[in-house]
């Protein structure tokens, strides 16, 4: 490697790092501004004492048990969905893959919806556990169909999508049976962070953290896989070990997030594409930018969702699509990307 390319390489990495930091800073300031707005607006004067010297009064409760944990949960959720979407898009080599592709989303949603309708006596604190268990069960089935993801990429994609279709049909049927509860279920099915606090944040963070750190740690493997599977195998990569492992890393965050916040649409699908448009330096930085971008998207959408029609809440999934969709289209129109992602051939 010549000195020139090394310098270029370093510059690329510095640009990606700067981008990541910018995204984190923007997200932090959005969350900080989000603390001010809501059903009961706070003035910046009132915010600072409430934030740094909590005194148990209404303002500090507002900040510390309602708005801050909720925004952080939204950020963590978005980051996890982004990472998971990126992993699945790489594994299946398909730009249409999203975090739900392995069947986890509907695996988590179906038992929760069923509990909501058929077991109304079950306290809602158990829903995350039920959802995570369901998500893993569905992922196991997908693993089984696709031979642990070691077969062809199409196998994994088709297996996951058939599991999702099956469970989605079950959810629809339960919805039709549920009668008057349908609207609130539909609302939940669009995802939301209403009333989520530190407990849920901790619960989610564990799953997201393991998945994201795992993905970051295996960024070299992802770089090889992005070339092609044959190339990766030629470089001495053990596909039978790494593909199931990466699949697991993609499943973990979703199982944690969906069971807490419901299926938040669009972020996991779009964030990796937008991150690729920024052209980061290697898979490691792509993961970092995808995660911070996903976090920014969901945290922003969550603040909009709770404040635009306060005190009513809108489903966060709607806002992510309504804001993210046009931005995404604009970026796609502007860039002349031809092969930012290998399409399954």
């Amino acid at each position: 490697m010549t000195a020139g390319t090394a310098v270029g390489k370093g510059r690329e990495a510095a640009r990606s790092a700067a981008m990541t930091i910018v995204l984190v800073v923007v997200a932090a300031s959005v969350i900080a501004c989000g603390l001010l707005v809501g059903a009961r607006p706070l003035s910046p004067h009132a915010l600072l004492p409430a934030l740094f010297w909590p005194d148990g009064k209404i303002d500090s409760i507002l900040v510390w048990t309602l708005r801050l944990p909720r925004s952080l949960a939204a950020w963590v959720g978005g980051a996890g969905l982004g990472v998971s979407g990126y992993l699945l898009q790489t594994l299946t080599r398909n730009p249409l893959a999203g975090p739900g592709l392995a069947g986890v989303t509907y695996g988590a949603v179906a038992p929760i919806v069923a509990c909501f309708v058929f077991l109304p006596w079950l306290p809602s604190v158990y829903y995350p556990l039920v959802g995570t268990a369901g998500g893993f069960a569905a992922a196991l089935v997908t693993f089984w169909i696709s031979h642990g993801g070691t077969g062809r990429p199409l196998h994994l994609a088709l297996g996951g999508i058939s599991v999702s279709l099956f469970l989605g049909a079950v959810v629809t049927y339960v919805l039709i049976l549920s009668g008057p509860q349908t609207t609130s279920l539909l609302f939940w099915l669009s995802g939301g962070f209403q009333g989520r606090s530190w407990v849920q944040l901790e619960y989610m963070s564990v799953w997201v953290g393991v998945g994201a750190l795992g993905a970051l740690a295996s960024h070299r493997v992802l770089g090889l896989l992005a070339l092609s599977e044959d190339a990766a195998a030629g470089m001495g990569l053990q596909l039978t070990l790494w593909k199931p492992l990466l699949l697991l890393f993609s499943v973990l965050p979703v199982a944690g997030i969906v069971s807490v916040a419901g299926p938040v649409a669009f972020v996991g699908l779009a964030a990796p594409h937008i991150a690729r448009l920024i052209k980061p330096d290697g898979p490691g930085w792509t993961i970092a930018i995808t995660a911070t971008l996903g976090g920014l998207m969901v945290a922003t959408a969550d603040i909009v969702a709770r404040s635009i029609a306060a005190p009513r809440e809108l489903p966060v999934g709607i806002i992510t699509a309504l804001i993210g969709g046009p931005v995404f289209i604009y970026l796609v129109q502007r860039s002349n990307f031809t092969s930012t992602m290998g399409v399954e051939r």
Binding site: V163, F166, A169, T182, L186, G325, E344
Partner: protein, 344 residues
């Protein structure tokens, strides 16, 4: 795309006739069996225009149009899915990546909302909803969405990836708008929309057949012309052009055809995801290496799947029917999984 094909172990010339016979058998079964027990002799009599009036009206006005609508819609979805998977070179493509399902959903939701609230505001009486307009409204919504996506992708170069990505984004926005409408709607009369959303053949009549048939005939008539372009669209644009293909024109033609087929069917029966997404894969699996058999098999399987699943939904739910979209997914997925497991 060759690597993406599921190639089954059994390659037989009898596959197509077998499934065609099966489809005809399913058609007969769907006409003869129903919630109301009618002896076969009366069914035959009704089909030839004799027999008691009730049997005749059940067979000729309820069962037969419903079965025919289902067959046509199944063909539409399956062919649209096959075309889209071929031209976008994405095995996960289905009519929803052209925004057809989401556009139709939004149009139908907005239309019903408008109808419920404008028709008779503030009253508790159940207004008769103008359901006869739904096919046209849904189709229009689907076509507009497809047109928007096409226009967005067309502004630069019309590549498969660009149109896929534009489709994702526009589809997500439209879907969000539709869910927003539904969530803001409240629970009033929402069951009609839910039924439509999960796909239903309930109370489909000859009018629906008449609505669909021109599209089916025109679409199937155009398909042979698209055969060679479809083979070539599997390649990158420069390679396809080097074979003498006017890439942009043929790409647009195939896209427009699949949009029309899917949008008309979505308008009539609602989105049935499974048929558009999975039936082409089933067809490829059964066709094996004989790629010329994929298209006819897709058509036959589309008709077969919808007919059989509608029959199951009708019988299993008894008075309360299970929507066809739910049945196709629940019955079809195990078949697909079994096939996927068989392929190494």
């Amino acid at each position: 795309m060759t690597a993406a094909r599921l190639s089954g172990p059994s390659v037989s010339a009898w596959t197509l006739p077998f499934f065609a016979l099966l489809a005809i058998g399913a058609l007969a079964l769907a006409v003869f069996i129903g919630v109301v027990d009618i002896p076969p002799s009366q069914v035959v009599a009704a089909l030839t225009g004799h027999g008691p009036a009730t049997a005749r009206s059940i067979i000729m006005d309820i069962r037969l149009p419903r079965v025919v609508t289902g067959i046509l819609a199944g063909i539409h979805f399956a062919v649209a899915g096959l075309l889209l998977q071929a031209i976008t070179r994405n095995p996960l493509a289905d009519p929803s990546i052209m925004g057809v399902s989401q556009g139709a959903t939004l149009a139908v939701a907005a239309f019903l909302l408008f109808a419920v609230y404008i028709h008779d505001p503030g009253s508790n009486t159940l207004a008769v909803l103008p359901t006869e307009w739904l096919p046209a409204v849904g189709m229009l919504g689907g076509l507009i969405a497809g047109g928007v996506i096409y226009a967005l992708a067309f502004r630069r170069n019309l590549g498969p990836l660009r149109i896929t990505i534009c489709g994702i984004a526009v589809g997500a926005v439209l879907h969000a708008l539709a869910i927003g409408l539904i969530a803001g709607w409240g629970s009033e009369r929402i069951e009609i929309l839910l039924q439509w959303l999960s796909g239903s053949l309930y109370a489909r009549s000859w009018e629906h057949v008449v609505f669909l048939l021109p599209f089916t005939v025109a679409g199937l008539a155009v398909l042979p012309l698209l055969r060679r372009p479809l083979e070539l669209l599997r390649f990158d644009a420069p390679i396809a052009r080097s074979f003498g293909l006017s890439y942009r024109l043929q790409f647009s033609l195939a896209l427009a055809l699949s949009c029309c087929l899917a949008a008309s069917a979505v308008g009539v029966v609602g989105p049935i995801v499974f048929v558009g997404l999975i039936v082409p894969h089933l067809a490829r699996f059964f066709a094996g290496r004989r790629s010329s058999a994929v298209l006819p098999l897709t058509i036959v399987l589309g008709a077969l799947v919808v007919t059989l699943c509608d029959l199951v939904g009708r019988l299993a739910g008894q008075a309360e029917e299970i929507p066809i979209g739910v049945v196709t997914a629940i019955c079809g997925v195990p078949v697909l999984i079994a096939l996927l497991r068989k392929v190494p």
